[in-house]
Symmetry: C2
Subunit: 210 residues, 2 copies
């Protein structure tokens, strides 16, 4: 249930005009994503985008306030995709323990894929973090909901302890995910990330033991 | 013992010339630190520094290869100061549990002090992380040694469990400190940092319970 609410929020961004005309808006986002994929976000202007897509800048401004609004839409879409994969783990089969481990591995896998295969999307997330775009906050909220879902399941099944306040537990677990979800931290040490994430997941699971 | 070795390593940096003449070198570092404090690292050149200190650029190049070498020396000095405070906690009184909690609080306190009172030093640490300066690696090694010292003390005193391999435990604890020690992460969320650090410290302590 939480997953659905959150996905709806992720598909919206700041500075986007008009309630309808979704299709044309989506066409621009997809074309902009391709262009930015090749050229990079920082080195792209709205005029460049318009030229690459084959429309006027005025046409783009009918749908987006600024280059940043387009970047936010792309970033939201990317993070939405990651959140979807994480939700399918959280709501999937397996004990709470197994699902929590899988979340750490999936964070590393997504981060690595973005860094190696989609470097320009990684650049957008760096800008997004720097400028505190709303999609980042939404993504962090989603991660928090995912953690909460799994911890609640684990408490209900008797897998996890129930003494510590749930907000404290979930907030602290979210912090332990920073080295594997923050784009700046991910880029400096991709080498032994799987091992690190595994060790942190196991530490967290020991802390959750009843 | 480890503390002493490490401190010696911290006082050395890359690209520094001449084995002796420490005093003149230190004078340059102190003067450079004052200048950079006022103007910022990125906006300072070696020529600016020479002018501000009242010496020739040739004189500075007798001691330092480059602006970066001066920056590295300042960064090493700053991180050395923080490491000193952390060591005095690690080797100080109190149970291992108390000392581990204090390390998390001290990280937040040092990070906040640097961000608010010594913004230009914070800027240097950002550049240092970006460019992977050796002082950052040395500081992380020191943090790792500090964690290890406390965990070993706690194991010996029967406060902490002894089943999990010590390297795995210490490595994972180090990861949980990233949100409170990494300059990029510190700058985005200074608001509820004490609460967060406390919650993570308690999570780690629950994971260490015998």
């Amino acid at each position: 249930m939480n997953g659905v609410t959150d996905k709806r929020r992720l598909s919206q961004g700041a500075g986007q005009r008009g309630p309808a005309e979704h299709e044309r808006r989506d066409q621009i986002i997809r074309a902009a994503e391709q262009h930015i994929h090749a050229v990079g976000y920082r080195r792209t202007s709205v005029a460049d985008l318009a030229r690459a897509i084959g429309v006027s800048t005025a046409y783009i401004y009918k749908f987006f306030d600024s280059k940043r609004a387009i970047g936010e839409a792309i970033c939201a879409m990317t993070l939405h995709g990651i959140a979807d994969k994480l939700w399918s783990i959280a709501e999937g089969p397996g004990s709470a323990e197994v699902r929590l481990r899988l979340i750490y591995s999936a964070l590393v896998e997504q981060g690595r894929a973005m860094y190696f295969n989609e470097r320009q999307l990684h650049e957008i997330t760096l800008v997004a973090v720097e400028q505190n775009w709303s999609s980042i906050g939404t993504y962090i909220d989603t991660l928090q909901q995912i953690v909460r879902r799994i911890v609640l399941d684990g408490r209900e099944a008797g897998e996890f302890e129930r003494k510590t306040p749930i907000d404290e537990v979930c907030g602290a677990i979210l912090q332990t995910m920073a080295p594997f979800s923050h784009p700046v931290l991910l880029q400096v040490r991709l080498d032994n990330l799987d091992e690190s994430a595994g060790a942190v997941a196991r530490l967290v699971l020991r802390s959750l033991a009843p």
